[in-house]
Amino acid sequence: MTVNDQDPYSVTNTDKDPEETAEWNESLDSLVAAQGHERGREIMLSLLKRSKDLHLGVPMVPTTDYINTIAKEDEPDFPGDEKLERRYRAWIRWNAAITVHRAQRPGVGVGGHISTYASSAALYEVGHNHFFRGADHESGGDQIFYQGHASPGMYARAFLEGRMSEDQLKGFRQEKSQAPNGISSYPHPRLMPEFWQFPTVSMGLGPINAIYQAQNNKYISNRGIKDVSDKQVWAFLGDGEMDEVESRGALQWAANENLDNLNFVINCNLQRLDGPVRGNGKIIQELESFFRGAGWNVIKVVWGREWDDLLANDHEGALRDLMNRTPDGDYQTYKAESGAYVRENFFGRDPRTLKMVEHLSDDVCGTSSAVATTTARFTRHSRPRTSTRGNRLSFSRRRSRAMAWARASRAATRPIR
C-alpha cells in the first residue's frame, strides 16, 4: 500500500548501502534511548529542515503510523464520572435501538438505521457530556452537524433529558400518522423546527456546510455584526461519506480561511452500505494524509486501552508494522471472526507478534481486534497559520481541546462489561 510507504513517490525503494543506513539508524536509536522521544523528534525535525536547505527533495511524509496520535502518557485524565456516563450511554443505546426496532414492526415497517449510532455513541456522548455548548452558554453555543442516520441516538438522549416523550419515540418516522408525536427520520429543521438545526443526511452536504458555517461565524464577528468567535462548529461524518466530492472539495479552503473554530469527527467504522470503504487500503491513513495535505491538524484515535500494554512492549515495532500493513478488509474480517482466527491470521503473520500474545487467551485476542475496528476515528481541527502570536496561542488552546476529546472518547469506547 503506497500510503504506508515512507516515500510513495520514489522511483526505486532499494537501499544502495544498507550497512551505512543501519549505522545512521543505530545512532538515532541510541539518541532516543539516552535522551527520550522529544529529543529524537527535535533532531529529526532539524535534519528535515537541513535537508530542505540542501535541496534533497525529501517529500513530506503525510501519514503517521496506524496508532493513536496522542501517546498514552500524554493523555489528560478523563474529565467526568466515567462510570455514570457509561451507565446512561447504555440506556440511550437501548432506547435508540428500540425506537428503530418498533418502527420496523410488521404493518409499520418504516425502517431506520441503528448500527451507525451504535458505533458512534461514545463519540457523541463525550461531546454531549463535555464539549458541545448549548445556546445559553456565554459563547452563544456551538453548531453541531449530526451524522444524519445517527438521529435515533439524539432522540433517545432527548427522551432521557425529558424533552422528548415516549410517544414521540413511538412516532419515529411516522410524522403525519402519529402527529403531533411524529418525529423525522433524519435531521430536518423544516419538520422539527425547534430541535434540528442542520440537515445533513444528503452525504457530503454536512461537511461543506460545516466549513462555510465556520466561515460565517468568523465573517459575522470580523464585520462587527455580532461576536460569535468563540462558537465551535462540529461535524460528525461517516468514512464512506468522505468519498463525496463536497466532503473533500473545500478542505484547503477551510485552512486558507484559518478556520480554527471547526472540527470534523469522522467515524471510521471502515464500512459503508455495500462493503468496505477501502478493502485493499486504509481509509484512516488516506484521510490523514489528505487532510494534513490540505492544512488540517489530524488526531487519530485508533486503538482502545486494551492495546496499550501490547504496544508498550512492541520494542521492535513488529506489531506496529503489522498494524500498518493490514488492509481494512482484513480488519473487518478479524472483527467478525473468533479470537483463534485473529491469533492465527493477524498476530501469526510475524513470529514476534505471535509471541507477544502467547500469554493471552483467544477470548482476549478476539475482543481486542473487535475494539480495533470499531473505534477507529479522527478528530480534526483546521490548523491555524502560526504567523502571529495570537494565532499560536489559539492553536495550542485548540490542541488541548482536541487532546482532551481524544482521551475522553478513547476512554469512553471501552467495551462495557
Binding site: S115, N129, L160, E161, E166, P193, I208, Q213, I225, V228
Partner: protein, 491 residues
C-alpha cells in the same frame, strides 16, 4: 443492524444492563418497552447537570432574532425611472438596485453578496472599492490593478463573500448566511449571483437542503435564457433553471422583464423574508437576470404591482381593432412579444394585447391550491385561480413565449381560460447570434406572429391561406432571417 429477534433483544438488554424482564420482552417482541429510570436517578441528575453546565440542550434550534427596520420604498427608485436612452441588461439594473440597497442605513450592512468569480461580468465589481471582498487575512500584496477605480480590494471587514470558482462552496455560504437569523439571531440577507446554468442543476441538492434548513435570501440566476447568453453555447445556455426552481417548495421564482419589475419583486421579497409579518418567511427568491442590453422602460403609470407580484400583469393593449389575441411572455422575451404585437397589427390586422408573466410557477402554485381547495371542499364557494381571473375578460387565443423550454409556460396550461399555445427552446443550446438562435428555436417575434395566426385560423377567425404566406414572408425556416435580439452584453 438487521431486525432483532427475541434472543437478540435479550442479549442486547443484558449488555446494556437494562432492568426489563424476559416476560416484558416476550409479551410483545415487536414493541419492547423503552427505559427511563426516572428523573431523580443519580445518572440522570448527572447528565442534566452536565448539560446545565454546558449551556443547555443540544441539538436545539432557536429563531428569536434582532429586528431590522426595512428600507423605505424610495430606496428602490433607481430602477423605476428606466434607463433613458441607455441600453442596459436586467443584470445591470439589478446591480444598480443592489448598490443602493448596500448603501441603505438599516439593511445595507446586512446584505451579503456571494459571488463565485463573476462579479465583473455582472457589473458587481462596482462594490469592490466600498464594500470590499472579505478576506480574514486582509490584503498583503500590491495588487496589479491598484490604480484602477474598481480594483480588487480585500479586507477582514469586507462585505462580499468571494469563494472563487466554487458554486458548491458559494451555496454552502448562502445557506450559512441565510440561516444566520436562527443560528446567530442576526438576520443577514444573502444575495448569491452566479451563471444561472450552474445553479439549480449543479447544486440543486444543496438548495433543497437550504430549503429544509429554512434559509432566506436571494438566488440570482444571471445570464439566464437558452438564447440570450450569446456565443457561450451548449453548457451555458440555460433554458430550464426556472423549471428546476419550481421543484423546490421553498423557492419563489420570478422571470422579470424589466428593472422596475425587479424593484418591486426584491422589495416584496425583503418584506416577506425579513419584515416579520408574513406567515411564511422561510423562502428563498430565485430571480433570473439577463445580459442582453435594452432600453429599460420607466415604470408604467398605474402599474399593477399586485399582478406583477402574483405572476402576471397586463402590459400593453392593442391599438387597432381586429381579431383579438393575447400574447403572454416573460423575462427577456417580453420585448419580442411587443414586437410581435406590432407585426400582428401592421402585417395582419390582428389586435393583440401583451401580458408580462413575472412568474409562471407562482401562478401554477396558486392554481393548484385553488384546485385542491375545490377538491376537498365541495360545499364551499369554489376558488378561482388568480391567472384565470386575470385573463377572464381577455379575448382571442393565448400564445406564450419565453427564452426557456416549453414546460415553463406550460405550467399554467390548465388555468388559462381559452386556447393556449406555447413556444419554447427545448433542445441543447449552441453558440450563435441571439437572432439566429431564437429563429432556430422558433421563439423569435416572427415565430410568435405565425403561431398566433395559426391559433386564429384554428378558431376560424382568419383565412387558412395566411399561414403559408406568413411563413414565406418572414422566411421562417431560414435561421439567417431572424432579427430578434441585439448583439452585446457581458458574458
Amino acid at each position: 443492524m438487521k431486525k432483532m429477534t427475541l434472543d437478540n433483544l435479550k442479549k442486547f438488554r443484558d449488555e446494556m444492563h437494562i432492568p426489563i424482564t424476559d416476560a416484558a420482552l416476550e409479551a410483545d417482541p415487536y414493541q419492547p418497552p423503552f427505559y427511563h429510570p426516572g428523573e431523580d436517578d443519580e445518572a440522570i441528575q448527572y447528565m442534566q447537570e452536565r448539560r446545565r453546565e454546558l449551556g443547555g440542550y443540544v441539538p436545539e434550534r432557536r429563531t428569536k432574532h434582532t429586528h431590522i427596520e426595512l428600507p423605505e420604498a424610495k430606496t428602490y427608485d433607481v430602477v423605476k425611472k428606466g434607463s433613458g436612452k441607455q441600453e442596459i441588461a436586467t443584470t445591470m439594473a439589478f446591480a444598480r438596485l443592489l448598490k443602493d440597497l448596500l448603501r441603505d442605513k438599516s439593511i445595507g450592512n446586512r446584505i451579503v453578496p456571494i459571488i463565485p468569480d463573476e462579479a465583473r461580468t455582472f457589473g458587481m465589481d462596482a462594490y469592490f472599492p466600498t464594500a470590499k471582498i472579505y478576506n480574514p487575512a486582509g490584503q498583503h500584496y500590491t495588487s496589479v490593478d491598484r490604480e484602477q477605480l474598481l480594483a480588487y480590494k480585500e479586507s477582514p471587514q469586507g462585505q462580499i463573500v468571494h469563494v472563487g470558482i466554487n458554486e458548491a462552496g458559494a451555496f454552502a455560504a448562502f445557506t450559512a448566511v441565510g440561516t444566520s437569523y436562527a443560528t446567530h439571531g442576526e438576520p443577514l440577507i444573502p444575495v448569491y449571483v452566479f451563471y444561472s446554468m450552474f445553479g439549480f442543476q449543479r447544486t440543486g441538492d444543496a438548495m433543497w437542503a437550504a430549503g429544509d434548513q429554512m434559509a432566506r435570501g436571494f438566488i440570482m440566476g444571471a445570464t439566464a435564457g437558452r438564447t440570450t447568453l450569446t456565443g457561450e453555447g451548449l453548457q451555458h445556455a440555460d433554458g430550464h433553471s426556472l423549471l428546476l426552481a419550481s421543484t423546490n417548495p421553498a423557492v419563489v421564482s420570478y422571470d422579470a422583464a424589466y428593472g422596475y419589475e425587479l424593484g418591486h419583486i426584491v422589495r416584496d421579497g425583503i418584506e416577506r423574508m425579513y419584515g416579520g409579518k408574513h406567515e411564511d418567511p422561510n423562502v428563498m427568491y430565485y430571480l433570473t437576470l439577463y445580459n442582453e442590453p435594452l432600453v429599460q422602460p420607466a415604470e408604467p403609470e398605474n402599474f399593477d404591482v399586485e399582478g406583477a407580484l402574483k405572476g402576471i400583469y397586463h402590459l400593453s393593449s392593442a391599438t387597432i381593432t381586429g381579431p383579438k389575441a393575447q400574447l403572454l411572455a416573460s423575462g427577456v422575451a417580453v420585448p419580442w412579444a411587443l414586437e410581435a404585437q406590432q407585426l400582428l397589427a401592421s402585417d395582419w390586422g390582428v389586435a393583440a394585447d401583451v401580458w408580462s408573466v413575472t412568474s409562471w410557477t407562482e401562478l401554477r402554485r396558486d392554481g393548484l391550491a385553488a384546485e385542491e381547495f375545490n377538491f376537498l371542499n365541495p360545499n364551499e364557494e369554489p376558488r378561482v385561480p388568480y391567472v384565470t381571473t386575470k385573463l377572464a375578460e381577455a379575448k382571442g387565443p393565448f400564445v406564450a413565449l419565453t427564452d426557456f423550454m416549453h414546460a415553463v409556460p406550460d405550467q399554467i396550461r390548465a388555468f388559462v381560460p381559452g386556447d393556449f399555445a406555447t413556444l419554447g427552446a427545448d433542445d441543447f443550446g449552441f453558440s450563435d447570434t441571439r437572432a439566429a438562435a431564437r429563429r432556430f428555436f422558433k421563439i423569435d417575434s416572427h415565430s410568435m406572429v405565425v403561431r398566433t395566426l395559426q391559433s386564429l385560423v384554428k378558431r376560424g377567425e382568419m383565412d387558412p391561406a395566411v399561414l403559408a404566406h406568413a411563413i414565406e414572408k418572414y422566411s421562417l425556416h431560414d435561421v439567417n432571417a431572424g432579427t430578434t435580439g441585439s448583439a452585446g452584453g457581458e458574458s
